[in-house]
Amino acid sequence: MKKILNKPENYVNEMLEGLYIAHPDLITYTNNDVRCLVTANKKEGKVGIATGGGSGHLPLFLGYVGKGMLDGCSVGDVFQSPSAEQMHAVTKYIDSGAGVLYIYGNYNGDIFNFDMAAEMADFEDGIRVESVVGADDVASAGPTDLGQKSTRRGVAGIVFVYKCAGAAADAMLSLDEVKRVAEKAAHNVRTMGVALTPCIVPRVGKPGFSLGEDEMEIGMGIHGETGIRRGKLESADQITVEMLDQIVSDLPFTTGDEVAVLVNGLGATPVDEQYIVVRKINEQLGKLGISVHRFYVGEYATSLEMAGLSISVMKLDAELKTYLDAPAQTPFFVQL
């Protein structure tokens, strides 16, 4: 296991200590627990937005707490949910009377704990909490009927949900309105990924699965969940076309649509490769008459040192565009 760390069981807490040292102007923690990360710039009267989830996905989840995006994040062990109690502590800190919105990925452990935390906040503190779940991974399950709970996993597309909801909250919209914006963003985003190598959870010490030297897995989840198909590694253009086809036909995205695109590295893939993919995405969407309002390229939701990348596409309307374009400043995301 080639990692620069001390004891594996201290991996998350030592990472957090470094984080607070590096970004004291933006983040701090509450409840005497470094895993209850909150904004250092609480804005009175604003709807608070909290997220949470396992570690190992930086910048996800905590990296988006700051100005104009999220207000708090409870931090779990690597690939493990944080506890309801931690979520509850974050909720209490970030509420300033306008209520709190939870935005998190569609994983059992996270759902159960966020639900429990919401009950605690309601029951013990009378804080109104609403939730929006990110479930953007086209590869993980079929589409869901209206009103039905999605069985799709949440992956990098949640960053768009954070951004739009964060800007709406920053504009001092009500909890209902911020939730509406978050839901709209979540409904309009689709993601698909490809993995080239596994990653190693520090406490486990060995890869969770293996992939042949010339293999890739299309649709693999960010914890190594089985994808759509495993096959010989193909060219960047072929991979891009396959992933984009699935994304486009799912919403579906159609001629005349305006979209935002996020090309996300899973950890070990150089950003050069991501730009090679950007080039092809632009060409393909251009052919379909879909125009790209904004590209985001880099690492937004990783799986430790996994090699591979994901593509997320969000359909925009005037409202989402306004919120997407609004400024934000967090330790990992700065937009003017």
Binding site: S83, A84, E85, N108, F112, M116, T151, T226
Partner: protein, 204 residues
């Protein structure tokens, strides 16, 4: 029944079966179940083992909260929800009669199903617990002893667990396997069987 005895047994059994649960969960899931259940029931037990609290409800609630802090995983949080619901239902009570055993585990069931929103037959923990509660109810109605009631429940839970082979998973990581999940045993239901075995040990 004594809450401490029940959770001591549960903690011991989960630790004994740790590797078996890891192996079962590794087939479809992430293999953490053995760790979370042994750590979780240990935390639950330790949170009350030296308590002189007499309120059965408060003991269960405290244990549930300790579990939820210690292992906030899928099953960890479900088990915490079950324990806490028992806590809420039995709050203010200092004793539990044999005739109430079914009600106690019904509360556990309700806590888990309120949190997880699964139904019986969907290849989860509930498919181990549900037949145990029915068996308890019958045994109580037949006027059996505490030990007999608990043993009937334990046997039924084990059968329920075995019957998960054949069901299609619709929750958690196993769900992504769809039809292919059918041939597998559900690890969460194995936990239910262990839990009822622990209960039987603690009242015998």
């Amino acid at each position: 029944m004594i809450v401490q005895d029940f959770l001591a047994s549960a903690s011991a059994l989960m630790t004994e079966n740790r590797d078996r649960l890891i192996d079962m969960d590794s087939v479809v899931g992430d293999g953490d179940l053995g760790l979370t259940m042994s750590d979780g029931f240990k935390a639950a037990y330790e949170s009350i083992k030296e308590s002189d609290e007499q309120d059965v409800g408060k003991l269960f609630y405290t244990a549930g909260k300790a579990m939820s802090v210690a292992v906030p995983s899928t099953m960890g949080t479900l088990m915490a929800s079950g324990l806490m619901q028992v806590g809420k239902t039995f709050k203010g009570r200092t004793e539990v009669q044999t005739t109430e055993y079914a009600a106690l585990f019904q509360a556990y069931f309700d806590g888990v199903s309120a949190r997880g929103k699964a139904k019986v037959g969907e290849k989860t923990f509930l498919d181990g617990l549900f037949p145990a509660i029915s068996a308890m109810q019958e045994a109580i109605e037949a006027g059996m002893s505490a030990a007999q009631v608990a043993q009937a429940a334990s046997d039924a839970a084990q059968k329920g667990f075995e019957a998960t082979q054949g069901m299609i998973a619709v929750h958690g990581r196993a769900a992504t396997r769809g039809e292919a999940s059918r041939q597998l045993l559900d690890p969460g239901a194995a936990v239910a069987a262990l839990l009822m075995k622990a209960f039987a040990q603690s009242v015998s």
